[in-house]
Amino acid sequence: MHTFIVVIGLIGFATLGYTIGRARAIITAGGVVKDLNSIPSYYGYYTAIWIGIPSLVMLIVWLIVEPHVIDGVVMSNLPINITQNLSTSEYGLLLNDIHNAANGSLFSKMNDRVIATAAKQLNSLRQTSFMLMLIAVFCVGISGLRFARNRISPDMRARNIVEKVINFILIISSLIAILTTMGIVVSLIFESVIFFSKIPLHEFLFGLNWSPQIAIHTEQVGSSGAFGAVPLFAGTLLITFIAMLVAVPIGLMSAIYMAEYAKARFRAFAKPMLEVLAGIPTVVYGFFAATTVAPAFRIAGQKSIGLDVSSESALAAGVVMGIMIIPFVSSLSDDVIKAVPQSLRDGSYGLGATKSETIRLVVMPAALPGIVGALLLAVSRAIGETMIVVMAAGLTSNLTVNPFEAVTTVTVQIVTLLVGDQEFDSPKTLSAFALGMVLFLITLALNVLALRVVRKYREHYE
């Protein structure tokens, strides 16, 4: 929060710098604005940039370095007999205790005198550091202001400099997308490599047994931990298949109806309805699946045919996931169908075909590549969907194709492995990253394929 106030203060300072720079430019030109190379406000921006950017860099560097320095000082001031023989994890625990005590946490070991003094020292160091940071940041800002102020003269090309800086910032912004992708790939690869150094790749990809629980005590049953991900892949595919069985017919037929038959008034009502369906958060679908659909299927299965439907059946999760994807399929196919040239339809009508014959025999074949692309995107969406399956599908792995049984999916396992306490050196936690890697690669492949198919189709008619 303090940092937030400092940032706001900096913004105020930069604004002040803007007015100073602007006024300074007018003064140097002797009050004749047309003698200036650029409009006065560019001199203002120039000054604000010289204040804002160096002090912001200073602030960020300070915030990154500060905790490490302070922790180091605090730990080195502890009595030697305590810190002497600590392993890295014990060191971390001790540091954590001190931090908790300093933050006034309820569960801290306040009564331990060593920790209490260290905590007190930590707090006072933090305060001093904050004051020092304030001074440092604003000193940098002031020197930036002085530097800019001295540079301002009527001949200075302020606009060109400002525009160069802004252009640079624009380029940086558009690079963030690449940085994000790189971040995803690097972090997934980094953790997966550690995982695969403990569990061989072929065992992960082809093993039929998934039970990631590794017991803390060696004598516990099932303490070995098995990381064969085939049951997860099978479960994911089963649920995705059910979802597509629901979403494709309904989504495609409603897209056809909306694009070819519906009058404007019907569209005006039905399109927002599908958009509402698309805008509902997945956690709501998950709740709906777990509390309404799954019990309904279970009761229906028992009463009508005496079938034993699990209360976490793949069917319930799949059907609700299908419902979630309906608007996705329909809006994508709607676009594709509309992109088919009207001349094709007119030609078909001219030959005496009815509307449905035209759609089935002319429009659909023409739109097919686009629709296939849309369905691929829908499949990738279903595979990556998390909340519905977390709330409505099972948690334990089960290699089956029976939709009435509980199965688990890749995303469910990632969530169950990573929610709660984690240790980053156990294969249990790392396996989540390996699963994430698989998920990322599969959805990426599907998306690239879909985009390629769609693009090819577009070129065909444009």
């Binding site: 409603s254 070819e260 709740f287 595979i383 709330m391 990322f440 690239v448």
Partner: protein, 443 residues
């Protein structure tokens, strides 16, 4: 017309053998029937989507509407000084803060139903009528008005969640006692209180003003709401400027080369990456590498910002593309620099479209759950988060936490939480639609 057509057709058949359209009655009827079937299939799938939406919404409303009120019972509470000030002497605030207010409620209950005294099992059932957090109400009353000590006053206290369900009619009295969470004796006491007019229902204001709690009757959505606001603030502060700047660069300034193509492919792919993968990124990079605090709105906001960035960039680019080139040419012709053209003319005209895209992105971020689970925002948060680094949760995760709780009363809390979440989404989308309408009118 018909005649000429048939004669000309007739002529051609005589000279060559051409397959003619079959205009005979039965065949045409078959084709028309299949046309009708196809049409019905189409409208019924739109209808199916509508019915599903109706079922979804009505199941949530029917489960959740009852969470907006709860039942309270009036009890004659004696603020006896023996309990509040056991060692005598002056009434001090320190003593009052730590006094046993639960005992006051228990005394009042024992006084009301003396028959339960002496039987530990019955006493426990009797105490179970009132919410276990009801003593805080008395504490606040006494702290704000210490002169209450020694007096007797009628106070309305919350019923416990089981009794509240009983009074809302969710508990089937015909079930055998062992299958019910409310026992026969409690039902008798409840009926007696009810017939004496001591039980009344009130609007559940606490639901909107408190944080989470283990007791359903005390649980509220306020802390999650504040968490959502803090998280979305960070998301907006990052994704809006960065997204708009990236879109401006790619649309207005970027050279046409392979690297820029690569950036565009990247953005399109990021838009389709499963949200949980962004959660893994947040866990590995923001928490483990940069060491930012777990469960903090800061980290949640960062992850959601990266997630909504592609949405905003794509929307902003199409809004920029929609600005007519004549505007740019006119401005350039009058001597504006390329950057001035964009900031003075193109951006203001594209702004409504950009804002619409941003609001839609924010609405997505508001409903997003999975990536936030990864960075530890699934936490039991009672206190209202004050800063961007306090542990916090968001509304969608609050819904998930409540949905996981076994108590019947949490089902209605979950549905009520969903209703609050959905109403925020409706609000945001309404603003987006309004903006779009204004934009359309101007062009």
């Amino acid at each position: 017309m018909n005649n000429t057509l048939s004669t000309s057709l007739g002529k051609s058949t005589s000279s060559k053998t051409i397959r003619l359209p079959d205009f005979s009655g039965p065949h045409l009827a078959k084709r028309y029937a299949s046309e009708r079937r196809f049409r019905i299939l189409g409208i019924s799938s739109v209808g199916a989507a509508g019915i599903i939406l109706l079922i979804l919404l009505s199941s949530i409303v029917s489960k959740g509407y009852s969470a907006f009120w709860l039942h309270k019972v009036e009890l004659n509470i004696t603020f006896s000084s023996e309990v509040l000030n056991p060692d005598g002497g002056a009434v001090e605030e320190v003593k009052l803060k730590e006094a046993n207010y639960l005992a006051l409620i228990h005394n009042a209950l024992k006084q009301k139903f003396p028959a339960a005294i002496g039987n530990r099992c019955k006493i426990r059932m009797l105490y179970g009528i009132i919410s276990p957090k009801a003593d805080l109400v008395l504490r606040n009353m006494v702290l704000s008005n210490p002169s209450l000590v020694g007096t007797t006053k009628t106070v309305s206290l919350k019923l416990s969640d089981d009794l509240d369900n009983l009074s809302k009619g969710f508990i089937n009295r015909d079930l055998p006692e062992s299958d019910r969470r409310v026992k026969d004796l409690q039902i008798d006491w409840y009926d007696q209180l009810k017939s004496e007019g001591h039980i009344h229902s009130v609007f559940n204001t606490d639901f909107f003003t408190t944080g989470d709690s283990r007791d359903p009757e005390e649980a509220g959505i306020y802390s999650a709401l504040i968490g959502s606001i803090l998280t979305l603030t960070i998301t907006l502060l990052i994704s809006f400027p960065v997204g708009v700047m990236a879109a401006v660069y790619l649309e207005e300034f970027a050279p046409n080369n392979r690297f820029i193509d690569f950036i565009e492919v990247n953005i399109n792919n990021l838009a389709a990456v499963p949200s949980i993968v962004f959660g893994l990124l947040g866990l590995a990079v923001f928490l483990n590498f940069f060491g930012l605090p777990r469960s903090a709105p800061l980290v949640g906001g960062l992850v959601l910002a990266l997630m909504t960035l592609p949405t905003i960039i794509i929307a902003a680019r199409s809004a920029l593309k929609a600005v007519s080139p004549s505007i740019r040419e006119a401005a350039l012709g009058l001597g504006a620099s390329p950057l001035q053209v964009v900031t003075h003319h193109v951006l203001p005209m594209a702004m409504p479209g950009i804002l619409t895209g941003t609001i839609i992105g924010m609405a997505q971020a508001l409903g997003e759950t999975a990536p936030l689970l990864m960075i530890g925002m699934v936490a039991f948060i009672v206190d209202i988060p004050q800063t961007f680094t306090d542990p916090a949760t968001v509304m969608s995760i609050q819904v998930y936490i409540w949905a996981d709780s076994p108590e019947r009363a949490f089902v209605e809390r979950t549905s009520a939480g969903i209703m609050v979440l959905l109403s925020f989404l409706v609000l945001m989308n309404a603003v987006a639609i309004l903006l779009r309408k204004r934009f359309e009118r101007r062009c």
